[in-house]
Every structure is written in C-alpha cells, then in structure tokens.
Amino acid sequence: MTAVAGGPAQAQAQARAVGMQGVNPVAKLIASLLLAAVLVLSIDWVSAAVALACESVLFVFAGVRPRTFVLRTAPIWLAAPAAGVTTLLYGQAAGQVYWSFGLIHVTDGSISLAVATALRILAIGLPAVVLFITVDPTDLADGLGQVLRLPARFVLGGLAGLRLVGLFLDDWRALELARRARGVADGSGLRRFAGQAFALLVLSLRRGSKLATAMEARGFGAPGERTWARPSVFGAREWALVCVGLLVALLATAVSVATGNWNFVLG
C-alpha cells in the first residue's frame, strides 16, 4: 500500500508539471469557447489567419508530441479543405465569375469565402483538439461540479454513462457474432444494421438502469451537501489560459476591423 500513500494529490501535482496536462479542463473549455465565439461572429480570412498564426506559436508550448498532434487533428485537416472546396463551388457568388457549371459558380466572392471558411475551421478546431486531448473525463466532471457549480446529479450521471460506452462496443461485437449464429446475418446490410442497433439500444437501457440502482445504493442523490474527493483548482494557470484565449480572440478581431475585413454575420 505504500505505493499509493501519496494519494491523488501527489499524482495531480506531478501531472501539473507538464504542459497543458495539469490545467483545469474547465479553463480549457472556457478558452476554446471564447475563441470560437469570437471567430464565428465574422467570416473573413484576416481574423482567422491572425488567430491561427498566434495559435501555431502557442501549440509549441502545449506539451503535445508532434505525432499525437498530427494523428488527433487529422479529421480537422481533412474537414477544413473539404468545407473550403464546397464553399468555393457553391458559395454566394460575387464579383468576377471564373467558372460556372450548373449550380456551380466560382467567383471572387466564393474564393474569399472558401479561404475564410477553411482557415476558420482550423483556427477553431485545432486549439479545441489540442486542449482536449489531455482532458480526463473525471477531471472535467470535477471541474464542472466544483468550479462551475453545475448540478452534481447531471455531471456525475453523464460521467458514469460515459463509462458504459466501452461496454457498448463489446456488446456490439457480441451482437454481431450472435446474429450470425442465429442465421439472420445474410440479409441486406441496412436492415441488419437497424435491427442490431435496436438490440443495442435495448441492452444499453438495461445496463443504464442497473447502473442507476448501483449508484443509488452508494448514496447518490442523498439529501444534504455532497463533497468532492478530488479538489478542482482554478488558479493562476487557469486564468492565464483563459486570458491567452481572450487575447488571441481580441487581436484577431482588432486586426480584422483595422484592415476593414471584418464582416459581422449577424449584422
């Protein structure tokens, strides 16, 4: 038992030493939301490019290994150009027309919109992924409950439900084998999938209700104030991260407005 004598406090202190690892997930959530909230207010390439440039510098200090960074952000690198191309072909036509085919119009307007869209997805998506690959669901729940004071019932119910997802994957594989064994796996793919998905739903509802009983048996939902075994600290590091997020957002807006590129989407 001596190995665990230090307890979670010590483990947490160690975690805090490396990069973004130890920063309270709530700060990561707020920083990402701030950045996203500002960047969706305008669709112009300048604000997105400025934000992305600042973020690229900050990523170096995030403590995420290059390989992990590339693997985990891959979906965003794919989504950004895909959305860009779609906007290029179908975006609102304006200015000179370069190419036109049916509903497709490539124009000055759609080109700048496409660049702005692609950059924007990168500028919102990349920092969100970088901040969240280091988030542990339990720590996030602790933060939501203690820092943001969200209802414990809601936060912990969600956290416990999340653990069932792993079991659903096992159930899905078992259902697949069982259906082959029962002789009903030869038909069309879609119908099979629908039937199996329904079976999984039934199984997961049953698992959910069993878990609820187990939680209740451990006093979940008991009257009186709940305590939290793990402290969720919101200190200087957390405020610093939120400020960095805010600064990047403000800088992007300022440059965009100053260069006359800001176009307020709600305006």
Binding site: M1, A3, V4, A5, G7, P8, A11, D136, P137, T138, L159, A160, R163, G166, L167, D171, A174, L175, L177, A178, R179, R180, A181, R182, G183, V184, A185, D186, G195, A199, V202, L203, R206, R207, K210, L211, T213, A214, M215, E216, A217, R218, G219, F220, G221, A222, P223, G224, E225, R226, T227, W228, A229, R230, P231
Partner: protein
Amino acid sequence: MPLPTPSPALRPSAVDARGWGWRYAGRHAWAVSDLDLHITPGERILLLGASGAGKSTFLQGLAGVQGGEEEGEETGTLLVDGVDPGTTRGRAGLVLQDPDSQVILARVGDDVAFGCENLGVPRDLIWPRVRHALAMVGLDVPLAHPTAALSGGQKQRLALAGVLAMQPGLLLLDEPTANLDPDGVREVRASVARVLDETGATFVVIEHRVDVWKDLVDRVVVLGPAGVIASGRPDVVLGEQRAFLAAEGIWVPGAPVTAPARATDAAGPVLVSTDRLTIGRSAAAPVRTDVDVAVAAGEVLAITGPNGAGKSTLALTLGGLLKPVAGRVQAAPALADGAHAAPSRWTSAQLVARIGTVFQDPEHQFLTGTVRDELAVGPRVLGVPPAEATRRIDALLERLRLDRLAAANPFTLSGGEKRRLSVATVLASRPRVLLLDEPTFGQDFRTWQEIVALLRELADDGTGVVAVSHDEAFVRALSDREYALAGITVADGAQR
C-alpha cells in the same frame, strides 16, 4: 498486513420487519408479504428461498433504494436501527450480482470514494477511508488503476470496498458470486470474511450456492411467498428443509446430483477438427497457437482453463463465428454437406443448420418480442414447413418448461428461463454440432440438472457437444473428454 488507519467506529445495525410487504407499481401480486423478521446487531444471515420469493426486494428495501410511492406500495414496517431505511442513506451497503454494472467511475480510488462523497464526508477523511476499504477487501492496486482492467472477482471486491468506505452498519450482498468463476468466488468470500471479522457489521447475503457462505453465517432464513418459512442454525435449517430447498433450485450441500456418467465409447465419426490453429479476436491479437482438437458425433467435449486462456475464443472459432488467425478449422464432409470445408466461410443460414452456438450472455442472442417467435427464427431461416416448425417449437417449449411463457418477452424472463430459452432457440434448427459457452453460469440447481440431462440426451442421439465451462461438477457429470487450455501470462491476464 497492517491496515493504514485504525478500524472505523462502526456501529452494527439492527433490523426489524413487522408484517412488511412490497408490491411493485403495476403488478398484481405482492413481491413480499407478511414478513416478520428481527435481526440483532452483528448477526450474520444467509437468506434462502424460491426464486420469486422476494429476497432481492427485501434487500433493496433494507438498502432504501426501492424508491417512493410511484415505484410501489408498502405495508407494515421495515426499520433499520429504528428508522425507515428509505429516509436515510449510508446505514446499509448493498452489493449486487453483476460485476460490470456496479463499476461507476474510471479509476479504482475514485470509484471507492464515490459513496463517501455522496454522503458528504469531508475530503481529508475520504482518502484514508478509501485506502482502508481497499486494504480490507485485499484489492492491492494503485488508486489510479483503471477499473476496466479488473477481473470479475476484483470488480466485486471493488464494489464491496465502495460500500465499506461508507461505513455501513448493515452489509447486504445479493448473489455476489453468481457471475464469478471459482477463483473469483474464493476471492470474494475471503474478503467478506475478513471484513466481517474486522467491522462486526450486521450481514445478510442471498445466494443459491449454500456451501459458499454456510460456515460464515450464524443463521439461515428461508423465505416463502408469505413470509418466513424457516429460521435457525444453518445445519438445522438445511437439514430440515433440504428437500424443499433442492426442489426450489437451491444448491444444498450434499444434495444428490442425479446424473450418472455417460458411456465414453459412444463417440462416432469426427465432425469438426482443427489443424495447427491459431485463435484470436483479431489477427493482431492471437491468444493461442497450435490448437489441435476434434469434435466427434455423440461425444461431449469440455473446454476448460483459467480466465484469459482463450476458451470462448476457441469455441467461437470452432463455431465458424471467428476466422482462424492461422491454421484451419475443418468440417467433415458429413457436416459440411456440400458447403465449404471451413465453417467461417459459410453463410449465416448454412451455419445455423450445421453448428449451433449458445452464448454466455443469453440477452445477446434474442431477436424477437416473444418466446415463441424466438424459437421460430431458426426453422424459418431453414425453410422448415410451418406444421413441422410448430411441432418442434411446441416440443421444445414443453421440454424446457417454457410453455407457460410462450407469449412472454424474452428479456423479462428470469436468469434460468433465459438460459433455457437460449439453448432451445439453437436446438430448434437441429444442428449436428452444439457449442455452449458457460451454460451453467449463475444457474440454480434445478436448471443445472435440466441442462445436464438435455445435453446428455443430445449427445446420445449423435450430436457433437462442446461446452466451455468453469463448473467442475458440470464437467465431471457430463464430459467424455476435457481439452484444458493452460493459463497464459501475456498482459495482465485480467480480461476474460
């Protein structure tokens, strides 16, 4: 091992039930009625009774997790330490049967701390309690150890630790070892014995397998449809009630197993065989190489071995459900009957006519809304004429005591009924080879005997039967040959 903190100041609880009864909302019959039972502080009780006698309902009532008036109707009084258990939390700690659905959080330490947090225990007191509870149940893993990596027996001890950290005066266990292999059963029993000796808590356990708890309890209480039937010293009650309990499916020590050994010279031609087979859930994760095993018509082959040895994987591979990672599974021409020699290449419909597989968890293989429809699936796939299909289904319903339940939803059946149905669904398509994964897991004595008798009959009629089993009595009673997979020491060996 010295425990990290001194024993907590724990006060054993008293239980007082007077004319207590409970009826679930929407049900006609009372789950429990007229229950009079007094339990003195520190007493240890084994609670027995027929399935449906309301044992679990009583335990949930004691734990105060039954819910309010919208969940059901209550009569009489049920008091723990003089108060209604529904109005307080933490006096009683309940551990349930299914290890998987009791794990709440991702890390061992957090999971044990969960109950303390809910009771509002101050943070500095929680972690000493957590370490002490883990030490008591003998779960010697780091606090940050992932709960998903624990074995079934470890998960049950984790659930026990989670309850102990709440320092309950009353410890309630509802079939805590029914879903465990023999090693898991031993682990859990040893932990409970240590916990009771240290805490002195009042203890009530429900279990079909009497011999696990017999020596640990002071009193055996037998519940019937209308209250307590018998109550007293274990040897006295078990002696007087032996016939009644055995008939109700309870494993009374020394009850005769009416299963004479099979003649071992019955084996016919080989139906399925393997050739330097490597098995695994995926090609990237082989669990065992060079498996050479054959299944003959009319024999019962038992596949045995510790957790993680690859027993289920071998059965699924033999059954054409998993592809061999390397080597071959070969069906004899008599079994293949014109289809490909490798069962994993068969279509689903070809498979169901030739090899039947009964899964460990019956719920995975249910497809329809009624018991009768469930049995009709196989014959329909095979194009059996309706009249013949009805005949087969009626015979199976009667043989496996499911005829009264023909219109019931398979998911609403009891554990024993689900098991019997899952076997019957496979038999309805009359495969020549039958594979079963832990067919007696968690079954009461009566269902156990029925399964043994049925499988013997099938083997006598020429079916090749393969059973993966931890159950020593089952293997002894039924198998002609045993294929024992030795334990392997890759990874943690914690997974099944």
